[in-house]
């Protein structure tokens, strides 16, 4: 019983009885608190006679860990062909030792991890297979999303309006302040940097064209998508992942509900509505920021700014940006849900998949934006 704080360090003494017999007297405390010292001590004990008696009645306190060390010493000696007996144990210690004697641990092997080219190849192979499976999973979610959408279109009552509204509130309304602030700053920075550069050529006024087109076509939607991937995508993954860990997803299934319909569809639909709206807000806010900086740094008054902007952009410019938003929302939502449903039993896997969800979503958003740019260039918009 390790009740006292102050431990007496473990010690031993060897008494030789006869040429064949020695007594190993253990003293001090042999508990988990003194175990490190005790282990070192045991390693220094050298016994070479045929019969050893281990005397344990001088031991102050003894618990399972200490008893295990004594037992291990004894087992090692017996393995070498000596005879060992434990003397001086009272009833409690007797039963402790007899309990430990029944334990035959597996041979201890240190865990080794060695780097080998084979292991590297194996890892690469596994990852390739994983990527393949991932695409399959995404297609699966997309397919079941399509199936669910078509049933919902036929039976509009099955559309979960309230769930969509709740998700919309979280993904759109909640994101407005941060998206607006971020775009305001980006718009201001672009026009300030661009303005200083263009001023060298006396072309300050064209900074309005630069900011207008850049923001409406690319920056507004991309930055909003990245923000939403970090904000809502990670939330989706974490929510679905936690539900998987608690077997809630399984419970939905056995109740007879369709996981895609109940969990995935409302989130993705809400996100697909939210992202165009957020993009529009981001555009306005960025143009506002650009207007303020051009006024402050380049002395372009608001009226001139608006005039120049009107000449520079058309409705098409705005639409080119906005039209990308639902696709990006779909990508973010699908990836977030796929990753969320992949979460296993551990907290670590939840963290891993949340990270993966955000990283993959941002990467794919940028790739898809590039594809759109190629596409629009090809059709001449």
């Amino acid at each position: 019983m390790a009740f006292l704080e102050k431990n007496t360090p473990p010690a031993f003494r060897i008494d030789a009885r006869s040429p064949d017999h020695q007594i190993l007297c253990l003293s001090g405390d042999w508990t988990v608190s003194t175990l490190a010292a005790a282990e070192k001590l045991v390693n220094t004990i050298k016994l070479d006679r045929k019969l050893t008696s281990v005397q344990v009645d001088d031991i102050g306190m003894l618990d399972t860990s200490g008893a295990w060390l004594v037992h291990r010493l004894r087992a090692a000696l017996e393995f070498e062909g000596q005879r060992v007996d434990i003397v001086g144990a009272d009833a409690e210690r007797e039963s402790l030792f007899s309990q430990i004697e029944q334990h035959h641990p597996p041979r201890w092997r240190p865990e080794t991890t060695s780097f080998s080219i084979l292991g590297f190849l194996e890892l690469t192979g596994r990852q390739v297979v994983e990527v393949g499976k991932d695409s399959l999973r995404m297609l699966h979610i997309l397919g079941s999303l399509g199936a669910v959408l078509s049933t919902v279109l036929l039976h509009p009552k099955r559309l979960r309006g309230i769930a969509i509204a709740v998700q919309f509130d979280k993904t759109c309304i909640g994101a407005v302040p941060i998206v607006a602030l971020m775009s305001f700053l980006i718009g201001a920075i672009i026009s300030q940097q661009g303005g200083f550069y263009l001023r060298q050529f006396g072309a300050d006024i064209f900074v309005v064209d630069l900011a207008g087109i850049l923001v409406l076509r690319e920056i507004g939607v991309i930055l909003t998508a990245i923000m939403v991937a970090g904000r809502s995508g990670s939330a989706f993954t974490a929510e679905l992942g936690a539900m998987r860990m608690q077997e809630e997803v399984d419970a939905l299934q056995v109740i007879g509900l369709n996981v895609t319909e109940v969990l995935v569809l409302p989130r993705i639909v809400a996100l697909m509505i939210a992202l165009p709206i957020l993009t529009f807000i981001a555009n306005l806010s960025a143009l506002f920021g650009a207007g303020l900086t051009t006024w402050a740094y380049l002395d372009i008054p608001p009226a001139a700014y608006l005039n120049q902007l009107q000449a520079a952009i058309t409705l098409e410019t705005l639409l080119v940006g906005i039209v990308k938003a639902p696709f990006m929302a779909l990508i973010i939502g699908v990836i977030a849900c796929v990753e969320g449903l992949k979460v296993g039993g551990s907290a670590e896997s939840l963290g891993h998949h949340t990270t993966m969800s955000v990283v993959k979503a941002i990467f794919l958003v940028i790739v898809v934006d590039g594809l759109f740019a190629i596409f629009f260039a090809a059709i001449g918009i």
């Binding site: 019983m1 390790a2 009740f3 006292l4 704080e5 508990t31 988990v32 608190s33 175990l35 490190a36 282990e39 618990d63 399972t64 860990s65 295990w68 060390l69 291990r72 409690e92 039963s95 402790l96 309990q99 430990i100 029944q102 334990h103 641990p105 597996p106 201890w108 240190p110 860990m245 296993g344 039993g345 551990s346 907290a347 670590e348 896997s349």
Partner: protein, 269 residues
Amino acid sequence: MHAAEITDPPAGPPEEAEPGDIILSARGITVGFGSKIILKDLDLDIRQGEILGFVGGSGTGKSVLMRAILGLVPRRAGRINVFGYDLETATAAQRQSIERRWGVLFQQGALFSSLTVRQNIQLPMREHLKLSQKLMDELASLKLELVGLPQDAGHKYPSELSGGMIKRASLARALALDPDLVFLDEPTSGLDPIGAAAFDMLTESLSRTLGLTVYMVTHDLDSLHSICDRIAVLGQKKVLAIGSIDDMMSNDDPWIKSYFRGERALRRT
């Protein structure tokens, strides 16, 4: 013995406790959430070396009391004295030494999900002691065997275990540092009767051989009859009665009567 006869908590520095000394005493514990009071003015003593069974209806606050003693739920009032230290005034170092000397089995197991069972058992050793990996592995395998888990369970993650195995693994972790006092929250609920009986035997033998003090929330009438030295009943926000199983059998409180002498209780004989 009735809750009202409890003496003052022991004061002063910790001495070597003799069996029967009071190892933990709680006085005037009041715990509530919002406007709802769960425990009010509750007194409790736990003696060195005993197995104290704790019963009470579902939702009466057995888990909350355990968590309040462990300091996981804030108390509105009351003092708790463990191993001779007042939890309120204990220094950080004293608190750490207290925490090293108690082990807890939570109702849901609370194993760390990203560690294997073996790593779960070794975590307290790794944090508090400097031991060689070999010794830690041996001790972990000893604890596994002690709680009746097969050796290969050591390499599994908690999500790959059955409910009963989670309880056992969690007990093994609670026992990792050879504590003086263990709190078990419904350790045998969800186990088959054979497993539950084995768990009871294990608890008893640990208590006898190591002088372990056990605080056990349980609904298992068999455990209450066979291994508990004393039984405390929680009801009406305090300890309704505390005493041996015979005291409980002769108690006239209607809830206690129906618990220990109800149809279900009588059917087991």
